[in-house]
Symmetry: C2
Subunit: 611 residues, 2 copies
């Protein structure tokens, strides 16, 4: 199969059994790759009874058919497991070079089950797979772990690993790749799943070429498309994802003080991608096959927060570890970012739970006794860094916060859930549904909980159009009519992006749906139509939904935090809008062929081949 | 004090202590009477630790300053207690002649505490109060109880009593008055509170005249106003509350099949007030001092459901025990109504929980084993009557249903709450928030849970205007802008109606706010302005809110069922509207001076004298 290695690696850490399974073309075309194909295994092999941190949970790392090829922005893989943070569908998609290397080592994906007695790591290359002793690595941070493995197995060993947070089962621990370039599979606690298996790292070395059905056509396409992408993505290249930060603030899309404020203009400028570029940028980081290079490399040599060296903060990180806790000290945020990267923590959930804790302290739900004497005051960078430490080490209050915002909030009494900003247990990323109704709908319905990437709709209500889906113009972000269809279609498309795998910033760089379809066909030799492409995305989305439905998810869980539903931002670019959730869901369920409880109807499942 | 007896009766059933407490004018003017004055005692004397069915809960029966006077529609009293159904503010307002008789016996209200060892009843008249043995009455239905007490103490003994449902602590048991004329204090399980105290009945005899400050002015006012009221309320007199039933169906305001359908036109005609008038009406029933007489007296002598004799079904009853369970057999509904009256069951919650059970059975949440072989099929009158029996007797499935829809639904698993139609644990009455946005807001925020009477807004979005409050015209029922203020003002007004006490149908009969104020002043001799009047209503509403806030209520509880928020009626007069709850609450909290969690701000409480 072109584009595919055709092989999946199964590793059971309980009995140290390693098996290679072949991937058939029918399954590949039906589930594509990435989170789609990973989901196929998760759905079939785990269920309601599966403890996310038990041996039966699967940790599935999956590349896509485009991963490892020259297709631009295809250097990604998905990590899928039942989430220990949310108890339902867990998915984290990440760039870097790990996925492409895995493909070049001859595998589309790895499915890890069981729990090892002692810490181990995997070493995978074309010569085979070894389960190696990681006792020496246990306790190390992710930068150190990557360095140690490279020291042992050479610079070409690319790692995905956990830090101390994953080891300690912090519920929002990340799996990090590429050492101090630090690409994070941040969301849903995949690092805790890895930690529960006593699996410190997966190192891969690979040299094979990923086969493409029509190399010439690909060359022609790249020649035409890549220069345009580079041109279109100039802002992203120059300033990284945080180049858009002042715009997000302007639009009222930006989380400020645990989502309670509407404006933070001057401070936003101080923590923008432009400020990063001026003050500490040393270079750009490109994931495999990426012509854009939005990744930041930074260095801080002096001052209170030095040293910092390696990956710089993304938009999400600057927003959640900055604005959301009212910290506008850019050096401090860079430090917080590096700490999260090293410990292996999702910067979004970390910023979310810290912002929550600040508010809980302010409102008296937490006292100075709960915090071991720490005054959780808005804007305190020292407290921010201290709490990151405590969470990663599960020390004192950090141990409670390490359970995630939902569980932490519930432990503080019924009233305390009022200002917990999460959906289905996943903290909000740094886009506000009050700034885009479709984002509210996407957060409420995305399989993994509040997620800006499984809909990515905000970009299509701000700068992008999608004529192939019937949206020749940028949409009205405060509109209501038609948002159900719009959101559902983009979720279906994003399911495909997460399966191929293609970075969503390729869309920001001007790539259209038809181009994605063309690349899939060029690589695989298939004749997938745009219709089949979207239908497949719909299948994958419904597959994920059904996983959640089996776990009890329904309309009652498709919700938004009270603050987002009821409290206006009051000033700024989204001062008055509140997403009318019931109306949006009604349109959405109808478009999706789901019943009034948000359950896909039998005929819809049959139509999608999921019955 | 004119209008007031100036005395409250305290009865502690645990130690059989009877005390008379005087009511001072300051408290009276601040809390007026009815549910307002009763609330003053509930708030001060019960709290979070109070078990609604324990000795510390108070059962407070309270008339108002107008009760017992000639002021039209003033023949009402309130029953207030911590609700065993909802665990929060419990209030039930009722007509009849009991309240007026209590006033004539020299009391404004009765506060019952404690629990008797054995069943007792109270006999209250101008000669004193006796706690009498009710062992012979225990087990009797409310018609029989009334008859037995009248047999013992004369026809002038007016009773408020419970039936078997209250004795068995059915969580939505009613307190019934006036025997087979059957006026029900239906909501919030006041009958269970009475049952928990082993108090079967309170019989009152009274002959004193309730003093009015300016009898002449009252006579003049009545001469002018009453004929107009009679004229305006002709429809209500002729066809009762159910005369409007076909209109409710037409407007899309009508509960059909557990709130899942949009139209039921032909069937609605068959169970309308007009049909009652044609087929079984024998007379009208007037509460004390009422010129309208909307109460129905019916008689069915033959057929499957005979005999039925006494009170006929109200609009709410026909809707909830008819349309909501798809029963369109008018005789059967009359029978169901009489059974509920005799057992002492709230017909609204009874219809609500039975409709819920029908749907749970249809959806497989209940099996034939759960139902003791009963097939819970929509439209089955026999099953309806059988379930009423089972609930009142707490037999089999009825025992579970007797806990109320919320608890019953929760016992069936998380998905089963999706179609439970209640707010704060109180079943919806028969008006659909999808037909009026203000009704949604009122249900979400009313202190006792889903309640059409504490806002009564639907009437002002259909037929009534209120120029004194700035609404010179009937409102747009699907409008959004300004609904927060509109709903809050009407809730404040209704708090006053429930305190004075005046029947809300006086408003339907054309009475304006200024007239209510005038009557209050004529009776009491006070100089209450319209502003003080409304401010007092606001105080009472906030007092009730604060009682709930102390019990943990906040924004999270100010909600509507998923069906109402998300599922359209699809056809009929409210085919597409869904109340935009977040937006409505946002306006409402701001108007009320409540914070984003729905908690009255300290400055608001201070302003209202509630700090």
């Amino acid at each position: 199969m072109f584009g595919y290695a055709g092989r999946l690696l199964r590793v059971n850490l309980s009995d140290r059994k390693i098996e290679i399974e072949s991937l058939d073309e029918g399954t590949a075309r039906k589930y594509i790759g990435g989170s789609g194909l990973a989901g196929y295994f998760l759905v079939n092999e785990t269920g309601v009874e599966t403890d996310p941190l038990g041996p039966e949970n699967l940790l599935i790392m999956m590349a896509g058919p485009l991963t490892g090829t020259r297709v631009p922005t295809s250097g990604r893989h998905a990590i899928v497991a039942k989430s220990p943070l949310t108890g339902i569908w867990g998915e984290s998609d990440v760039g870097g070079t790990w996925g492409a290397t895995l493909k070049r080592a001859g595998f589309d994906g790895i499915i890890v089950s069981g729990i090892s007695d002692t810490p181990v790591y995997l070493l995978i290359d074309e010569d085979g797979t070894q389960i190696l002793d990681a006792r020496e690595l246990w306790g190390k941070d992710t930068y150190e772990t990557d360095k140690a493995i490279k020291h042992l197995h050479g610079e070409k060993a690319v790692t995905a690993c956990i830090g101390q947070a994953g080891e300690r089962l912090v519920k929002f621990a990340a799996v990090m790749t590429d050492g101090k370039d630090a690409r994070a599979a941040g969301r849903c606690g995949m690092g805790a799943v890895m930690g529960s298996k006593k699996l410190k790292a997966i190192a891969v070395r690979g040299n094979s070429r990923v086969k493409c059905a029509d190399e010439e056509a690909l060359t022609r396409s790249l020649k035409e498309v890549v220069p345009k992408m580079v041109q279109n993505a100039k802002g992203l290249s120059t300033y990284g994802t945080a180049g858009g930060l002042p715009t997000m603030e302007f639009l009222g899309d930006f989380p400020i003080k645990n989502w309670s404020l509407g404006k933070w203009e001057e401070q936003a400028k101080r923590i923008s991608g432009q400020a990063v570029a001026e003050r500490m940028l040393t270079g750009r980081y490109h994931c495999a096959a990426c012509p854009i290079g939005c990744g930041r490399e930074v260095r801080i040599d002096s001052g209170k927060y030095a040293p910092v060296e390696g990956a710089g903060p993304e938009y999400e990180t600057l927003a959640m570890l900055g604005a959301n806790v009212l910290v506008d000290d850019l050096e401090a945020i860079c430090k917080a970012n590096e700490m999260c990267n090293r410990y292996g923590l999702d910067t979004i959930s970390t910023g979310g739970v810290i912002g929550y804790a600040f508010e809980a302290f302010e409102r008296g739900f937490l006292t100075i006794e709960d915090t071991d004497g720490l005054r959780l005051e808005w804007g305190s960078a020292d407290v921010l860094l201290s709490l990151i430490d405590k969470i990663a080490r599960r020390e004192g209050l950090g141990d409670r916060m390490a359970e995630g915002t939902r569980a932490f909030a519930r432990s503080l009494g019924p009233r305390a859930i009022e200002f917990a900003v999460e959906t289905k247990g996943l903290d909000f990323p740094a886009h506000d549904p009050r700034a885009y109704n479709s984002v509210g709908l996407a957060y409420a319905t995305s399989a993994r909980g509040a997620c800006h990437l499984s809909g990515f709709t905000h970009n299509f209500e701000k700068t992008l159009n999608m004529p192939e889906l019937g949206y020749p113009e940028v949409q009205d972000r405060f509109g209501v009519e038609g948002k159900g269809r719009f959101t559902a279609l983009l979720q279906d498309l994003m399911c495909m992006m997460d399966s191929l795998k293609l970075c969503k910033f390729s869309l920001s760089a001007g790539i259209k749906l038809t181009q994605c379809v063309e690349w899939l066909n060029i690589v695989t030799g298939w004749d997938v139509s745009a219709e089949e492409f979207m239908r497949t995305g719909e299948r994958l989305f419904n597959m994920k939904r059904m996983y959640n439905v089996k776990h009890g998810t329904s309309r009652k869980d498709d919700t938004l935090p009270y603050r987002i539903l009821t409290s206006r931002r009051k000033e700024g670019g989204a001062a008055t809008n509140l997403p009318p959730l019931g109306e949006l869901l009604s349109q959405y369920y109808e478009h999706r062929g789901w019943d009034e409880f948000g359950v896909p109807k039998p005929e819809k499942l049959k139509e999608l081949g999921l019955a």
